[in-house]
C-alpha cells in the first residue's frame, strides 16, 4: 500500500515536468556549436546545492574560450534568470588547451566541454518545480570568429530528496570535474628577472623530472604575463621553474600572479594530464638564474655562458689541427705567400667568403638543433642531466669519441670525396661554398667533436645555442681568415707531420676523463651499480668496434662479426634499461618519506594486508609516492573527499597506504607480482574476495563511491 502511495506521489511530482516544453529548450544548436544546459540531478531538494553545466560541443577545428581567452577571443558568458533566493556561482572552468592561430595564442576548448555552475536553492524554496533560465553568449572561432548566443530553460522537480540524473549524465559531470584544476598542493612564488620579466617558481620538492613534460602556465587574466611567449619550464628535484614574459599591463610588479599550471605525468599506465590552480605572491628574494642547468650544476659548478663561448672558439681552432683539415690549410697558406700584391686583395675576399661559408653552415646547424628541440617539446633539456640514462649515454659518447681520437677506429672518409671538385673552383661564390663544404668535408675528423658540441648546445636556451655554435665556426674559420690577410703568418705555422696524429691521440685523454666524470655523476644518481653497467657497457662498445675493424670484403664472417657487434651494442644500451630500476641516490635511507600523508590510513605491510583480507573485510590499498602528481590529484579529488570518506566508513573498509617514494622493496615486490611498473596503483578487495580488483589510475569521487558501495550492497 505504501508503495502504491509513493508511486502516486512521484507521479504527481513528475507530471508537471512532462507537460512542460522545458527539455526541448535546453538545447541550442547553431552552425558551429551544439549547446545544452544539463543538470546533474533530476530532482532538487530545497537548501541542497547541485550542479548544472553548459555543455558546448564544437564542430571540428572550432573552439570556444577559457576565462582568459589569451591574445584574442572572448570567454563564454552566462546570465542567469533564477527565482528569488536561488543563486548561481560563477563558472568553474576546466583546464584549457593552448590553441595557436598563426602565432596568436588562444586559450580555449575544442571538441566537447562542460562549463560547471553550482546552483543553490534556498531552504524555503517554494513550488513544485525549479525553473532555471540562462542567456549564454559565446564566441566560437576557427580561422574566423562568430559570436553566438542561446537561451536555455531547464525545469527541475522539487522534492524531499535529491535524485541524481541518469548515469550517462552523471558520467559527463564526473569526467568534467576531473578536467577542473585542483588547488595546488605546492606553494608558488614569483620573482622578477633583471629584464623585468617575471618567472614562476613552484616549490614542488622531490618531483621526478624525467616523468614530467609539457609544463605550461595559463595566466588567469590579461596583463601581468604575456600569453604569446613560448614557455620553457624546467623541472628539477627542487621544483618547477617557468620563465615568463612580462605582459602589457602598465602597472608595476603585481602583488601576485594567478593561473593554472598544467603538466603531463608519465605513470606506469601512460601519460596523464594534471592541472593545478596557482596563486604566486611576489617574492623579492627570488633570484633569476642566468645560467641554465647543465651537468655541472649537479656538482655545484656551472659553466658560464662566456666560458662556454671561449671553449667553443677554442674547439673550433683545434678542429684546424685535425689531420684531415690541417694539411689543406698548410698547402693553401704556402700558395698565398707566392702570390703578388694584387692577387692578395682577391685572397682577402676569398678568406672572407670562406669565413661566411663556414659561419652560415654553423648557423644552419644551430637552426637544425633548435628545430629538433622545438619538435621534441618545450620542456627544457636541462632536466635530462637529472636522468641516469642520459648520464650513461653521454659517458658512452665521450668514450667513443676518445676511442676515435686514439685511432682505434676511423670514421669513413667517403664524404671527403665530395670536396675534390672544390679545389678547382674559383671566385667569391666558390670560396663561400668551400667554406660550407669545409665543414662537411672535414667531418671524418670533426664529427666526434661536433657531436659533443651539439650535445652541449642542445642543453642551452636558443640564443646560447646559436652563439656557441657560431663561436665554434669562427674558431674553425679563423686561421684561414688570418692567413688570407697576413700570408706572412704562414712562416709561423708548423709543418704538417706526425705531430698531428700525436696531438689527436693526446686529445683522447680529456675525453676519457670526461667519460669518467660522467660515470661519477651516474653513481650519484644510481648508486654503485651504475659503475658496473656503465663500464660493462663500454667494454661491449669497445668490443663491437674492434669486431668491425676487420674491413674485409663482404663474406659470411663479416656479417657474423657485424651481428655480434650489434648484439654487444644492444646489450650496452640495455644497461640504460636496467638503470631505471635502480634506487635513486636519496634512497640510501629507505623508509617512509615526509611527502606522503597517512592521516586516516594504516601503513601498508604485506602482513597487515594478508590479515585484513583473511578477516573477510573489504580492503582498499593506495600505493603512492611523494613525487607522483597523479597520486596527489587522486587523493584530493577522489580519495579524501567527504563522500568517499563516508563510503569508506560506512562499509568498514580497511584503508592501507603504501609509500613508494623510496621504492620500498616490499611494495616493489607486490607491484611486480601484479605486473605493474609503478604508482599510482589502487587495489580493492571486496569483502571476502581473494583476488583484488585493480582500479584505474585516474579516480573520481563518483567511481570511488560506486566501487565501495556496490560490492557492499551486493554483500547484503
Amino acid at each position: 500500500m505504501s508503495r502504491f502511495l509513493a508511486f502516486l506521489v512521484s507521479l504527481l511530482v513528475a507530471l508537471p515536468v512532462l507537460t512542460l516544453p522545458a527539455a526541448a529548450q535546453s538545447v541550442v544548436t547553431t552552425d558551429n556549436v551544439r549547446a545544452e544546459l544539463l543538470s546533474e540531478v533530476s530532482q532538487v531538494k530545497p537548501g541542497e546545492p547541485f550542479w548544472v553545466a553548459l555543455r558546448e560541443t564544437m564542430k571540428p577545428h572550432w573552439h570556444t574560450y577559457w576565462k582568459n581567452p589569451g591574445d584574442a577571443g572572448q570567454p563564454t558568458d552566462i546570465t542567469w534568470k533564477l527565482p528569488t533566493g536561488v543563486t548561481a556561482d560563477p563558472i568553474v572552468w576546466p583546464t584549457p588547451t593552448k590553441i595557436d592561430v598563426g602565432g596568436v595564442i588562444n586559450y580555449g576548448f575544442e571538441g566537447d566541454v562542460l562549463l560547471l555552475v553550482k546552483i543553490t536553492p534556498p531552504a524555503n524554496l517554494a513550488g513544485q518545480t525549479l525553473a532555471l533560465a540562462a542567456d549564454a553568449n559565446w564566441l566560437v572561432c576557427s580561422d574566423v570568429c562568430i559570436p553566438e548566443e542561446g537561451k536555455f530553460n531547464l525545469t527541475l522537480p522539487v522534492g524531499t530528496a535529491v535524485t541524481p540524473a541518469d548515469s550517462a549524465t552523471r558520467t559527463l559531470f564526473d569526467t568534467a570535474r576531473r578536467q577542473v584544476p585542483t588547488d595546488s598542493p605546492w606553494p608558488a612564488r614569483f620573482g622578477v628577472a633583471k629584464s623585468g620579466d617575471p618567472f614562476l617558481v613552484v616549490d614542488a620538492k622531490g618531483l621526478k623530472p624525467e616523468t614530467i613534460r609539457d609544463v605550461y602556465f595559463f595566466p588567469a587574466e590579461w596583463g601581468a604575463v604575456a600569453n604569446m611567449a613560448k614557455q620553457t619550464a624546467r623541472v628539477t628535484a627542487e621544483g618547477i621553474r617557468i620563465p615568463l614574459k612580462k605582459g602589457d599591463a602598465k602597472a608595476a610588479t603585481p602583488q601576485q600572479i594567478a593561473g593554472t599550471l598544467q603538466l603531463l605525468e608519465k605513470t606506469g599506465d601512460g601519460e596523464h594530464r594534471q592541472a593545478f590552480d596557482i596563486t604566486a605572491p611576489f617574492d623579492s628574494k627570488l633570484v633569476a638564474d642566468a645560467s641554465p642547468i647543465t651537468a655541472a650544476d649537479d656538482t655545484g659548478e656551472a659553466l658560464s655562458f662566456w666560458t662556454a663561448l671561449g671553449f667553443a672558439l677554442l674547439g673550433g681552432l683545434i678542429l684546424n689541427l685535425m689531420p684531415c683539415v690541417f694539411p689543406v690549410l698548410a698547402m693553401k697558406a704556402a700558395s698565398f705567400v707566392r702570390l703578388s700584391g694584387q692577387a692578395r686583395g682577391e685572397i682577402r675576399r676569398d678568406g672572407i667568403a670562406y669565413t661566411a661559408g663556414v659561419l652560415v653552415s654553423f648557423a644552419l646547424m644551430a637552426g637544425a638543433v633548435l628545430a629538433i628541440r622545438a619538435s621534441v617539446g618545450e620542456v627544457s633539456w636541462g632536466f635530462q642531466f637529472q636522468s641516469p640514462v642520459f648520464s650513461l649515454l653521454v659517458a658512452y659518447l665521450f668514450f667513443v669519441v676518445g676511442l676515435n681520437l686514439s685511432g682505434v677506429f676511423e670514421v669513413s672518409g667517403r664524404l671527403a670525396g665530395l670536396g675534390q671538385g672544390l679545389a678547382g673552383r674559383s671566385g667569391i661564390a666558390g670560396s663561400f661554398f668551400t667554406g660550407v663544404l669545409a665543414v662537411v668535408v672535414a667531418t671524418p675528423c670533426t664529427a666526434p667533436f661536433m657531436a659533443a658540441a651539439l650535445g652541449f648546445a642542445l642543453s642551452q636556451p636558443a640564443p646560447q645555442t646559436i652563439a656557441v655554435l657560431l663561436a665554434m665556426g669562427l674558431g674553425l674559420a679563423l686561421p684561414y681568415l688570418a692567413l688570407t690577410f697576413t700570408p706572412a703568418l704562414q712562416r709561423m705555422m708548423p709543418r704538417p707531420g706526425v705531430w698531428m696524429d700525436r696531438l689527436r691521440q693526446f686529445l683522447a685523454f680529456p675525453m676519457y676523463a670526461s667519460a669518467v666524470w660522467m660515470i661519477w655523476v651516474l653513481t650519484q644518481q644510481t648508486g654503485a651499480d651504475g659503475v658496473l653497467y656503465a663500464l660493462g657497457g663500454m667494454i661491449l662498445i669497445a668490443f663491437a668496434i674492434w669486431l668491425l675493424r676487420f674491413a674485409t670484403a663482404a663474406s659470411p664472417a663479416l656479417w657474423l662479426r657485424r651481428g655480434i657487434a650489434a648484439v654487444a651494442v644492444l646489450l650496452a644500451f640495455g644497461a640504460a634499461w636496467k638503470l631505471e630500476d635502480q634506487p635513486a641516490a636519496a634512497s640510501a635511507s629507505s623508509g617512509p618519506s615526509a611527502g606522503v600523508n597517512f592521516e586516516g590510513w594504516e601503513r601498508f605491510s604485506r602482513a597487515r594486508l594478508d590479515e585484513a583480507v583473511a578477516s573477510r573485510k573489504p580492503v582498499f590499498v593506495d600505493f603512492t609516492a611523494a613525487w607522483c602528481i597523479t597520486c596527489l590529484v587522486n587523493e584530493r579529488v577522489a580519495l579524501e573527499t567527504a563522500d568517499t570518506r563516508r563510503a569508506f566508513e560506512r562499509t568498514g573498509t580497511v584503508k592501507l597506504k603504501g609509500d613508494w617514494t623510496n621504492r620500498d622493496p616490499e611494495i616493489t615486490a607486490l607491484l611486480k607480482e601484479l605486473g605493474r611498473a609503478g604508482v599510482p596503483l589502487y587495489l580493492y578487495w571486496p569483502a571476502g574476495a581473494e583476488r583484488p580488483t585493480i582500479l584505474p589510475q585516474i579516480l573520481t569521487e563518483a567511481s570511488m563511491v560506486a566501487t565501495l558501495t556496490s560490492s557492499h550492497q551486493a554483500q547484503r
Partner: protein, 210 residues
C-alpha cells in the same frame, strides 16, 4: 658517420621550419619607446610613412571588416565618430587592413574604399598591409587593435578600443572609450591614465595562419 646525413636533412627541415614560423619572432612594440616605423600605400595609391608624420599625433587601427568585433564598432557608429573627432583635432587616424590574401578581411584598394563609403568611415587613410608587416612590427594580435603615436614619434597607447570585451554593440555606451580618453589626455598634455589595455577582438589574420 651516418649522422652527417641526418644533419644535412635537418638543415632542410630547419630552414623549412623557420620559413613557416615567422610569428615566433614577432616583436611587441614598447610603450614610451619610438614607435616602429612603417611605409605603406593606402587604398588611393598614396604612400604614407610614419617618419613624415612627425609633429602629428597618429592613431593606428587594425581592421578586418568581417570580424564581428570590428562590426560592433562600425555598425554602432562608434569608430566613425572617434575618427571624425580625431580628425577635427588634427590627429591622423590610419586604419590598417592587415589580413593576408585569402584570409578573412583581406581587401583590395577598391574594396577598402567601398567599405569606407558604406560605413561612412572617416580615417585619414586605409593602409593596405597584406603582408601584415605593420601588424607584425606593432605586435598586433587582434582586430581592432589600437595604437597611438605621439607628435614626437613615441608609442603612447596600445590596447583595445574600449573597456568591455564583447561583440555586443549595446555594451558600447557603458564602456570606457580608452582611445578617446587617451587622445583627450594627450591633447591636454596630461599623462595617459590607461596607456596599455587589454586588446580584444578576432585573431589578426597573419599570412600562413590557419
Amino acid at each position: 658517420m651516418s649522422n652527417v646525413v641526418v644533419h644535412r636533412r635537418s638543415l632542410l627541415l630547419a630552414s623549412a621550419a623557420f620559413s613557416l614560423a615567422p610569428m615566433a619572432a614577432r616583436a611587441a612594440s614598447d610603450l614610451g619607446k619610438a614607435a616602429p616605423p612603417f611605409v605603406a600605400t593606402d587604398s588611393n595609391g598614396k604612400s604614407w610613412s610614419l617618419a613624415t608624420l612627425r609633429g602629428k599625433v597618429v592613431v593606428l587601427e587594425t581592421t578586418n571588416h568581417e570580424c564581428p568585433y570590428v562590426g560592433k564598432h562600425y555598425r554602432s557608429g562608434n569608430m566613425q565618430a572617434q575618427q571624425r573627432e580625431a580628425a577635427a583635432e588634427g590627429v591622423v587616424w590610419l586604419t590598417v587592413a592587415s589580413s593576408a590574401p585569402g584570409k578573412q578581411g583581406y581587401v583590395t584598394a577598391a574594396q577598402a574604399n567601398e567599405i569606407v563609403a558604406t560605413h561612412h568611415a572617416a580615417p585619414a587613410a586605409v593602409l593596405l598591409d597584406p603582408e601584415s608587416r605593420i601588424a607584425h612590427d606593432y605586435g598586433a594580435t587582434v582586430t581592432p587593435h589600437m595604437y597611438i603615436v605621439d607628435a614626437s614619434g613615441v608609442l603612447v597607447y596600445k590596447g583595445g578600443i574600449d573597456s568591455i570585451a564583447t561583440a555586443d554593440r549595446d555594451d558600447i555606451p557603458r564602456a570606457k572609450q580608452y582611445v578617446r580618453a587617451a587622445l583627450t589626455e594627450l591633447q591636454a598634455g596630461k599623462p595617459i591614465t590607461d596607456a596599455s589595455t587589454r586588446p580584444y577582438g578576432c585573431n589578426l589574420k597573419y599570412p600562413g595562419s590557419a
